[in-house]
Symmetry: C2
Subunit: 258 residues, 2 copies
Amino acid sequence: MDRSAEFRKRKAQCLGKADLSRKGSVDDGVVELVQLLNSQDQFFTTSSCAGRILLLDGGINGFAVQKQNCCWLLVTHKPCIKEDVIVALKKASGDAVLKFEPFVLHVQCQQLQDAQFLHSAAIECGFRNSGITVGKRGKTMLAVRSTHSLEVPLSHKGKLMVTEEYIDFLLNIANHKMEENSKRIERFYNCLRHALERETVPNSHPKIKEKSNPSYTHKKKRNPEKAHGKCITEENNKEPESDDDDPGISVNIFPQDY
Amino acid sequence: MDRSAEFRKRKAQCLGKADLSRKGSVDDGVVELVQLLNSQDQFFTTSSCAGRILLLDGGINGFAVQKQNCCWLLVTHKPCIKEDVIVALKKASGDAVLKFEPFVLHVQCQQLQDAQFLHSAAIECGFRNSGITVGKRGKTMLAVRSTHSLEVPLSHKGKLMVTEEYIDFLLNIANHKMEENSKRIERFYNCLRHALERETVPNSHPKIKEKSNPSYTHKKKRNPEKAHGKCITEENNKEPESDDDDPGISVNIFPQDY
């Protein structure tokens, strides 16, 4: 079976099988994006999370959590209020940690240059921890990852270590990050939709071309987040070498209004 | 100039130029690893951080930090004590955030399969957010990234939002993460050294082979971290689709004692 037939078969198998995640369905916040990608011959999504606020009752020092011992006290994909966290914290017996986990998406790509195309879009939209994985048999995945997270220990051996005022303050930040996260997903969806309309990503290539693809030859445009130094994480990457996270792929494959 | 000559030239240029990072030199914790990689024809490192505890005076809600306004109140690559943070916090006027940033490394690779080889090693050693970037002209980078971080807002508009006891508790966690981080760097160095001794990674290929390379055909071995469900972040990835972060590349290219 040729590579593209094999890819179509894997795509059909993967999209056909039951969603085995805890939730059992795609998060509302990413349904459109997932549908857009799965409507393309050269892509299919294998996992996604729109972003969530999570309260875990973990091991001491936030480490050595055995799967069977780690307990989710609270998980929500929507903004969260103090009362919910206070109630959930009463169930904590170990070290409870509040986390904001941003949007994450895994996409299987038919060819390396399909992954490069998607990676460029992700970087453009500020998902700077995105990266490609090429498996031993050539299975090519793109992981879209953001840099915006939050991980805050709240209790130690069941004892609350912060005030309710702090939890309120923290949830403002977490909710604000969730809002930013949603805007960024929307930006990614729009960028991708425009780019896909304007580009015809080849579905089949006899071999991977390492030469520049027309879609990568436009004038380089910096990722807006980066241009404005908007986020702390990127701020920490101010050393010149941090540009290596963006090695010449952050090209403008999008309309000027992005 | 052929691809491998071009790579050698870029490597010489890159390693020859001054280190423009704030620190101006490679962190002690990664010197050996950086030297090991740079001693290989098919790799050179372009940036690294051994891992650090950082106190930033950022913008409100930990967002919209303008580069010029973001201030590093404290940065250390060593374990940190409460008093240092208390003193540094006195200088905070915005929202101060304490972060632990784990080891990060960027490596330029001659060929895609060199990056795959290194990526396998990184995943094996638990650096699950690692990923490959292929630039528009084929420039191939591997970013080695960990999942173990910490990001904790401490003050709001200069007002401390937590107790000294909490800062002490938090630094225990941060210092413990730094210790784990060092062990993981050491493990990565040893895994890589053994793997490089046992493998001859081709330095030049007429074209990228997507077929299995002998170095990827050994019996698959799970990443130990993952096997033991050791870390919270991985715990959150318990959904079956989280395996997509590890799409068949976590093969055993290392001695059985790893």
